[in-house]
Symmetry: none
């Protein structure tokens, strides 16, 4: 199982087929409209997304643009019946990472997904967060001033999610589903923000009132 995959496809035949075929190697989820897709991404988080270019209402391209605008960095593969050059260019420039023309073979789709989600840079050196250095594998975080602080498993997982995309603001629901797979109480998020802030410093995690939390120093 390579991770979580979202498919945004309104074709009532192709959608379910893709979902079922790819279910062999992915935890797949299917949505039939761009709006539903955005909702899903913002509240759950995926490792890859397949988007049909032609969707009822908001198009696949607009969907991609909206997600990129919201700083969602998840790899996106765009799917289309149109093989024209300018369509492909437009799709890629909207923010898609790859482009596949229908009809396609599932084996190629699988290979492209694998290529998109491969992670070549698994840093062991740690991630910089403000003046701190976070070591996900060692579950600790260093400061040049106050030294090293050990984190618990959940604290480290929580911070890792935020650190994966430092510029992005994560909603409460996203964090909840990303860190706590079973539906925990929403206030748990606040508690762990509190723990991390107490262990490090108050400004490590920023509150965006009404939206969620994000890392670091906007000032």
């Amino acid at each position: 199982m390579s991770g979580r995959l979202l498919i945004v496809e309104d074709d009532p035949r192709l959608g379910p087929i893709m979902r079922d075929v790819l279910a062999a190697s992915w935890e797949t989820e299917l949505r039939a409209s761009a709006e539903a897709g955005i909702d899903a991404v913002l509240s759950h988080g995926y490792d890859a997304i397949i988007v049909d270019r032609r969707l009822p209402g908001m198009s696949g391209e607009e969907l991609v643009r909206e997600l990129r605008r919201r700083k969602v960095g998840t790899p996106i593969l765009m799917l289309t019946a149109l093989g024209e050059l300018h369509d492909r260019v437009a799709g890629l420039d909207a923010g898609a990472n790859d482009y596949l023309v229908k009809p396609f073979e599932f084996e190629e789709l699988s290979a492209r997904l694998r290529a998109l989600t491969r992670d070549y840079t698994r840093p062991d050196e740690g991630v910089a967060i403000g003046s701190w250095t976070f070591h996900p594998l060692d579950q600790c975080i260093d400061s040049p001033y106050t030294g090293r602080v050990l984190l618990t498993e959940v604290e480290a997982a929580f911070l890792a999610v935020l650190a994966a995309e430092p510029e992005r603001t994560f909603s409460r629901e996203y964090l909840l589903s990303a860190v706590f797979p079973r539906g925990e109480s929403p206030t748990t998020v606040e508690t762990y923000v509190h723990y991390l802030r107490r262990k490090t410093d108050r400004d490590l995690i920023q509150t965006i009132r009404g939206s969620g939390y994000r890392l670091g120093t906007p000032a």
Copy 2:
């Protein structure tokens, strides 16, 4: 100029053409064999690599595999005359990030390179308002002089409406119905103009007496 690009291509006609065409947006370098390509990568570092699948001696696929084995994470686009499915799958599984079949159009090659090297984590540029830069999603506004100011939800929504059409003068009623869906008191508009002016500077929003408000830069 998007960065440094390495082309590994032995075709004495196609290689130089690619190098010259892509030189418009990349600092390009050309190598004619896999071995020379590996040398170049290990000693220089690039932001993207184009590899022909068919090369004299060591193949493009082996080249990719070797680079990945050495933990080189640079995005690689593979190029080939072979359009067969199993070739494409093999190329991607070797570690290439994308695959383009000859003959191709340069515009698509460019678009795919752009897609491969795009950095989603860089902060978006925001909307310019006078000397300020407004970031709707982050709910903040930057000034080169006084730094960043955080806005509340309603303040940001209010400013977003004005910024959508910077040249337009918005009536009080329009702003009221656009920002405050339920019919709020008309003076609320004045209050939020006031909040925004206090947080930024007096000239950010201009009063058009008898008509409404518009964004700065009067002339």
